[in-house]
């Protein structure tokens, strides 16, 4: 019998090994299924909102359309839909899509008062994160590697087989054993991803990058199993050592580092920007109109000289008030975004030393479901909001009527292009970490092969 086949039989005939592998396969399948269901649910939500949106717009059109339609009225009541359809790979790494809005209806009013207007979620439920393929990969795969690899050497020593195994003439025993376990673990975690990718018509290159990340992360943990398992004298100590590594590397250090990052880079809540903007807008009612227009003209000098109106109210004053409200918090917004970007950058750096964080960064960047993806959606909303405002301003400042034909010309939001990309830095850092640990583990195993009492 071929040695590899013999080794495969030995692996699969062990109840513990088989259970661990089947469990990983089932959990990976379940995670992919949950991810697909979640993404399908988000797509269905977007479609449902699109239908409602069309009905809502039609009712605004019916109420306001006519030869003397009012653009201000229309801009106030016509909510325009923006949506961020789930990227094809989001099923594997849901990331921020579980917490951040993927549908937002905006008006020509101040943007900052609308941008963070999303559903509230239970922070305790959000804390453990979503159960997706990335979760299985980062948190559960190492446990299966520990189950399969912690007693590779110690188990043989404890049962008195180690000397017998080493006394046999053949070579490559540990390499075969580890490679086989590695292949089995990768199959259990990788096959569901590939099937999920096919179902969701995900780009093959993206799936390949995720698999590459998984392969490196898995190699890191097998390297650690070789290193720890080859150093400890008993299986219990080796298992305890490996579990300790898992707790420290995937739970304790990331949590401590996140706390440190949060302390180092405080980020205001989006709702604080909303409140600040609203306060500034409302202050506009109490200050002279000239002051409001003066602020507005700083960004829109093209409408200077067209601010005069009769009576106590005009929509152009109202929208200028909102625009001035946005301008008043522009500094805070920039600071907020810079803080988010800084946190993202620090998390990226953290990924260079913590393989779990690095893998997380890699798969979420590839799936376009990280903070960067969320900010890209916000940027696209801001761009669209600018288009919307500049569409209405001529009607408001030139006192033009808003007809049905104008209604059809209201700009529509085009979903942003996906920004998912290969995070080369984390990928290389992960490769380096895996290489170092596997090399150290291999040296340890080689020593066992050469000299064992």
């Amino acid at each position: 019998m071929n040695a590899l086949r013999a080794e495969a039989r030995l692996l699969l005939r062990s109840g513990r090994n088989l259970l661990a592998l089947v469990l990983l396969l089932v959990l990976s399948c379940a995670a992919v299924w949950v991810g697909i269901a979640k993404i399908e649910n988000q797509r269905a939500t977007i479609e449902r909102v699109e239908r409602e949106q069309a009905r809502d717009l039609a009712s605004v059109e019916d109420a306001n359309a006519g030869p003397e339609g009012d653009a201000g009225y229309n801009a106030y009541y016509a909510f325009m839909l923006t949506q961020d359809p789930p990227p094809a790979l989001a099923f594997a790494a849901i990331g921020q899509r579980d917490l951040q809005p993927f549908v937002l209806r905006v008006r020509a009013l101040g943007l900052q008062g609308q941008l963070y207007d999303s559903e509230t979620y239970n922070p305790e439920l959000a804390l453990p994160g979503v159960f997706d393929w990335a979760f299985v990969l980062i948190y559960l795969l190492p446990l299966v590697v520990i189950a399969l690899g912690h007693d590779l050497v110690t188990g043989e020593r404890e049962t008195g087989r180690l000397r017998l195994l080493l006394s046999l003439a053949g070579e490559g025993l540990w390499l075969r054993r580890i490679a086989l376990r590695y292949g089995a673990v990768m199959a259990a975690v990788g096959l569901p991803l590939v099937v999920g990718g096919i179902i969701m018509a995900a780009p093959a290159a993206g799936v390949a990058v995720m698999l590459a990340g998984a392969a490196l992360y898995c190699a890191f943990w097998f390297g650690l199993a070789m290193l720890v398992g080859g150093t400890m004298r008993s299986s219990t100590t080796a298992a305890a050592g490996m579990i300790g590594c898992w707790i420290v590397l995937t739970l304790v250090l990331p949590a401590l580092a996140n706390a440190a990052i949060a302390r180092q880079v405080p980020v205001a809540k989006g709702i604080d920007l909303t409140l600040a903007q609203r306060e500034n807008v409302h202050r506009g009612w109490d200050i002279p109109k000239e002051e409001t227009f003066e602020r507005f003209f700083a960004d829109h000098p093209e409408w200077q000289g067209k601010q005069e109106f009769e009576g106590r109210f005009h929509w152009k004053w109202y929208y200028a008030m909102h625009q001035a409200g946005d301008a008043s918090v522009a500094g805070d917004v920039a600071e907020y975004r810079a803080s988010l970007a800084r946190r993202e950058e620090l998390t990226r750096v953290l990924g260079f030393v913590l393989p779990g964080v690095g893998t997380m960064n890699l798969v979420h960047r590839m799936a376009d479901t990280d903070i960067a993806g969320q900010l890209a959606y916000q940027d696209s909303i801001a761009d669209y909001h600018t288009d919307l405002r500049t569409f209405y301003y001529p009607y408001l400042f030139e006192d033009k009527y808003f007809t049905r034909a104008d209604f059809a010309a209201i700009p529509r939001y085009s979903p942003r292009a996906g920004t998912g990309s290969v995070a080369l830095g984390p990928l290389l850092a992960l490769a380096l970490a895996a290489l170092l640990v596997v090399a150290a583990g291999a040296l340890r195993m080689r020593r066992i092969s050469g000299h064992s009492r």
């Binding site: 019998m1 013999a6 005939r13 017998l164 046999l168 053949g170």
Partner: protein, 247 residues
């Protein structure tokens, strides 16, 4: 024992010294084992018996002296040397979740042996394991049956040298007799057997020579008589007791 000087010894150890840290274990061990000879190496705990086996298997690099198995230095070429030997550790526990046949097949695969199922069945037959047990998992086997499977593995490899570490430990008298019959059959096939043992009675029954390892060297060796009782058991017992005390 008839010596055949023109034939290369199966095992040849000369002036072997080895220490673990500051503690010397082997201090000038000399041992020659001819093909077809059964040698029982006896000694107290810490006398160096296991270290001698480790040196033969190439697990340790001796401080000085030479070791050769069928003319091959196990330190210089452990793979080639190990291909000449089958080693049965004391109380070996094979894989519980594999059957007797699968266990042997697995270990043969690891040793790059091309011997097939015929050799496995022949070995299992030789060790006297009932054919009804061949395809049963080892988890249901008695200690004696497990030992038989381990020895069957050694036989199935069909190598010129057998190294046995306490092979009769835990076996009942009947199983010991069967085991000795096996060794006798191996001797007839010109297989050299080095057994490290505490079982004086079994050694007297089957060994051609018995050596007493005391403080890292063979202090005394007795050869089996061609006629009459093979060894003087009482004298050996006294010697063995002395060796144990020395340890």
């Amino acid at each position: 024992m008839m010596t055949e000087p023109h034939i290369q010894p199966a095992v040849e150890i000369a002036q072997l010294h080895h220490r673990y840290g500051a503690d010397p274990v082997l201090r000038g061990l000399d041992l020659i084992l001819q093909p077809g000879e059964i040698y029982a190496l006896m000694g107290g705990n810490g006398a160096g018996k296991s270290t001698t086996l480790a040196a033969l298997l190439g697990f340790i690099s001796p401080e000085s002296g030479t070791v050769q198995v069928c003319g091959i230095d196990p330190v210089a070429d452990p793979r080639a040397a190990r291909a000449q030997m089958a080693y049965v550790p004391e109380n070996v526990s094979l894989y519980e979740h594999l059957t007797a046949r699968e266990n042997i097949s697995y270990f043969l695969a690891l040793s790059d042996s091309r011997r097939g199922s015929d050799a496995i069945e022949a070995a299992l037959t030789d060790v006297g394991l009932a054919s009804s047990a061949w395809d049963k998992r080892l988890s249901g086997f008695s200690k004696g049956m497990r030992q038989k499977v381990a020895i069957a593995l050694a036989l199935a490899r069909d190598v010129p040298v057998l190294l046995l570490d306490e092979p009769t430990s835990g076996l009942d008298p009947r199983a010991v007799l069967e085991f000795n019959r096996l060794l006798d059959s191996a001797r007839k096939r010109r297989v050299a057997v080095l057994m490290v043992t505490h079982d004086l009675v079994s050694a007297v029954d089957i060994a051609d020579r018995i050596g007493f390892l005391i403080a890292g060297r063979i202090e005394e060796e007795r050869e089996a008589q061609a006629s009459g009782s093979r060894f003087d058991l009482n004298a050996l017992h006294d010697r063995y007791t002395h060796a144990e005390r020395a340890a």
